[in-house]
């Protein structure tokens, strides 16, 4: 039993420091795992300290609740497939938000509604935000788990309706702050917040879910921080707010990486019921997925084997020197890099050779088509730079295509394909390329030179 509040405060401070280090580490590829462990240590300290507080009782209930929750957590986290990870994050985020709301409710109940100004504001915020986070996360989970349709679900007047509900919840909150001390008011507020959470997330399409989950994650952080105000706990305030702030920034970064504004993600569905949100959707429902230099950089840095496939676009962009620099950088990191030269890449025989020789790419890194094609299934990343026709699978599969019969580079056999070009425009043969729609393909749009320069910077940073 610890009775000295200073000791408790110090132990909590240690936990805070752990959380700060956890965040720092989590933002670097090298230390990320360590980050999770440090965070775990902080959590253990925080929980142990709390359990040791003077006067804590109801041990059976605490242990029962803890064990049940932990078992759910472990089973959920352990059994789920890697591809289902995002919905797990949503789920565990939601329950956190729910817990915050419930803690607020309990405190309100214990105090009989008779709370000071600071406390009541915090209680209302905690209940409101926590509930929205809980309900929103559950909807996100259901959508990702495909219990609900991933497509945006919208109805007319939704906009007005949602705002109405939110206003209602806020009005109840104001009433509570103003002195109303009826518990049902708080419960009603929670109910409205839950409804709002559901309605808020329903219209958002599946592709945008990660951004929404990140936002709800930040919300839960804020709710936890508000709980800290209710309980006068600096640790909760700090830890919750760290998550709140970094979660907000993260949400921004994620939206930016998708080239969208947050507003567009959250409210994009309204008014454009037909088109749907998320990426450029083609007829058969497959989407073209754009990526960012940073993402590609991490993929490249952690790859074992990268094959660079240069095409006419590389020549147009005159990015030969940059591509060699990128390759050298990767080799320094221990990545195995080769260049796959298609016999008709470019616009004249040997076009790629001229370019790459100018950039001093060693001849032995240049692989002929027949030599490299068997390697693609073992390739982690195929980096297609301004090539199009020479990697078009239609040449293999579509007898109606004008390029049918031309041998191509089998980049689609690589684990991941990154295509760098300026647009979805076709190449010399003037035909579309199915490769760009494959699930393993992501597009890095922009002039090849600019993109590679950005990539170099990002690889260095990662």
């Amino acid at each position: 039993m610890i009775s000295d509040p200073d000791v408790v405060g110090l132990l909590y401070l240690v936990a805070i420091v752990c959380f700060i280090f956890a965040l720092r580490f989590l933002s670097s590829p090298k230390h990320a795992r360590k980050g999770n462990w440090v965070g775990g240590a902080g959590m253990v300290i925080a929980i142990a300290t709390t359990l040791a507080l003077d006067g804590i009782g109801n041990w059976a209930l605490i242990i029962a609740g803890g064990v049940i929750g932990s078992v759910i957590g472990i089973i959920g986290a352990r059994t789920v497939k890697m591809t289902a990870m995002p919905q797990m994050v949503a789920l565990f985020n939601g329950v956190g938000g729910g817990a915050a709301a419930l803690v607020a409710l309990a405190e309100f109940h214990v105090a009989g509604g008779d709370l000071g100004g600071e406390e009541i504001v915090s209680t209302v915020l905690s209940a409101l935000i926590g509930s929205v986070s809980f309900a929103g996360s559950m909807v996100a989970f259901a959508k990702l788990q495909e219990w609900l349709s991933g497509r945006p679900i919208v109805f007319t007047g939704q906009n007005v309706f949602n705002v109405g509900i939110l206003l209602g919840a806020v009005a109840l909150g104001v009433a509570l702050v103003a002195g109303v001390d009826e518990q049902w008011v708080l419960i009603a507020l929670i109910a409205l917040a839950l409804l709002f959470g559901v309605l808020f997330v329903l219209p958002i399409g599946g592709a945008d879910m990660p951004v929404v989950i990140s936002l709800l994650n930040a919300f839960t952080g804020l709710a936890a921080s508000a709980t800290g105000f209710v309980l006068d706990s600096l640790m909760l305030i700090v830890a919750g707010m760290l998550v709140g702030a970094s979660g907000m920034l993260l949400t921004l970064l994620m939206a930016r990486a998708m080239n969208r504004s947050i507003a567009n993600v959250l409210f994009g569905a309204f008014g454009q019921v037909q088109t749907g949100a998320g990426g450029t959707r083609v007829d058969d429902g497959r989407t073209v997925r754009a990526t960012s230099p940073e993402d590609v950089a991490v993929q490249l840095s952690f790859a074992r084997k990268v094959v660079v496939v240069p095409g006419y676009g590389l020549a147009v962009a005159q990015a030969q020197h940059d591509v060699r620099q990128l390759a050298e950088l990767l080799e320094e990191k221990g990545v195995d890099v080769a260049y796959a030269i298609h016999p008709v890449a470019g616009r004249m025989p040997g076009h790629m050779n001229v370019l790459l020789a100018e950039a001093n790419v060693p001849y032995d890194q240049l692989k002929e088509m027949d030599e490299i094609n068997p390697d693609f299934p073992q390739t982690d990343v195929a980096l297609v730079i301004g090539a199009n026709d020479v990697v078009n699978p239609a040449a293999r599969s579509d007898p109606a295509s004008p390029i049918y019969g031309m041998p191509i580079l089998d980049v689609d056999k690589a684990a991941s394909v990154i295509v760098m070009k300026r647009s979805m425009a076709p190449g010399f043969a003037g035909i579309d390329n199915e490769l760009f729609l494959e699930p393993q393909t992501t597009m890095l749009f922009g002039n090849a030179k600019d993109s590679i320069v950005k990539l170099i910077a990002a690889v260095k940073a990662s």
């Binding site: 008709v344 025989p349 026709d389 019969g405 043969a429």
Partner: protein, 365 residues
């Protein structure tokens, strides 16, 4: 059985030992004329090593189903061909109508490398491209060898040598390769072509596109359409102004089936600086320069004008290698698994056949 025979006055050979071996592997019987590859650097022993039969000219054609060569056969040689035989080579279908007629009369099924349609699938049979690549490279070497100036810029204790200024007219396959090669040597390169798409291609090689204010059109096959006479005059005028600033001019402009466009009239040559060099790769079809004498190298007012024809043949070894690969791919197309199976519904077979196709004249110009 598909023997192969070499053309007189031609250093290249239509099958290299390596290509012959490849054919054998695909189920062909290959007979090669004795000594056919010597001038291209492939002595008979090498053929023998790759398991190819060698024969003298006399017995060569016995039982041949197909004959592959580089240049078109002379009248006598056509006479010696067995009727119904398949003939493959540069047959000049658009210009040598007599030769084609002769082949047709003789009952030869003739495939002209020039007539293979320029479709994606046929790229590996495209001998015009492969030989133009060699010619473009060689043209720069010819020019550099004849120029009294160094191509690269050098700043030395004995003063600075300014880089040579090279102009490439016609930036098709040969022109682009010439641009690349001259740039490699350090020259400052400009280029012009009438097809609009070329400007970007020139820049993609790091050279400057010279804007002469003349814009032509591109046909389906990627070739240029002939300019109108006003356009042509306009082009000559614009060029004449700029030519004196160049040390080396390499011309490759061509329009299939037409005499080479005259880009450089005699007056423009007079305006060039002494010591300048013109390499005219279009000499075969009359030359892009008025003064070009096909097959010869002349000097005019201090300007060297190289009108060598068949420039690719000057690099016989690599030129033969590429040509042989083209021929092998075509043969494998015409005779999958080594057995002739001509399918005249096929775009390539129909397009390349210039004599002896079932519907007479189908493959003709």
């Amino acid at each position: 059985m598909r023997p192969r025979e070499s053309a007189p006055g031609e250093h290249r050979v239509a099958l290299t030992p390596e290509a012959a071996a490849k054919l054998r592997a695909s189920g062909f019987d290959v007979v090669v004329e004795r000594g056919a590859g010597v001038l291209a650097g492939f002595p008979d022993e090498q053929y023998a090593e790759s398991g190819v039969a060698l024969a003298d000219q006399a017995s060569l054609l016995e039982g041949a189903e197909a004959v592959v060569r580089v240049a078109k056969p002379s009248a006598e040689e056509v006479g010696a061909l067995p009727a119904g035989v398949v003939l493959i080579g540069f047959l000049e279908p658009l210009t040598d109508t007599d030769g084609i007629a002769r082949l047709r009369e003789h009952g030869v099924v003739a495939f002209a490398m020039e007539s293979i349609p320029r479709i994606t699938r046929a790229q590996s049979m495209d001998a015009l491209s492969s030989q133009a690549t060699i010619a473009g490279y060689k043209a720069v070497l010819l020019a550099a060898d004849r120029s009294p100036k160094l191509f690269p810029m050098l700043m030395t204790a004995a003063g600075t040598v300014a880089p040579a200024r090279v102009l490439v007219l016609g930036a098709g396959v040969a022109g682009l390769q010439a641009i690349a090669t001259a740039r490699r040597l350090g020259a400052v390169v400009s280029a012009f072509d009438v097809r609009p798409a070329v400007a970007e291609q020139v820049q993609s090689l790091g050279a400057t596109f010279l804007d002469l204010g003349v814009r032509g059109e591109e046909t389906e096959g990627g070739y240029a359409r002939e300019l109108t006479s006003e356009q042509q005059a306009e082009q000559q005028r614009a060029l004449e102004e700029r030519l004196p600033t160049f040390d080396v001019v390499i011309t490759t402009a061509a329009v299939p089936g037409r005499p080479a466009p005259k880009l450089i009239p005699a007056a423009s040559v007079d305006a060039m600086r002494p010591g300048s060099v013109v390499v005219d790769l279009a000499a075969e079809t009359g030359g892009n320069c008025e003064l070009t004498e096909p097959g010869r190298e002349i000097a005019h007012a201090g300007v060297t004008i190289v009108g060598l024809t068949n420039v690719a043949a000057l690099m016989a070894s690599d030129a033969s290698r590429l040509y042989a690969r083209n021929v092998v791919t075509l043969l494998e197309h015409l005779a999958p698994e080594g057995t002739l199976a001509l399918d005249f519904e096929d775009e390539i077979t129909a397009g390349a056949c210039v004599a002896g196709a079932p519907t007479a004249g189908k493959g003709e110009a």
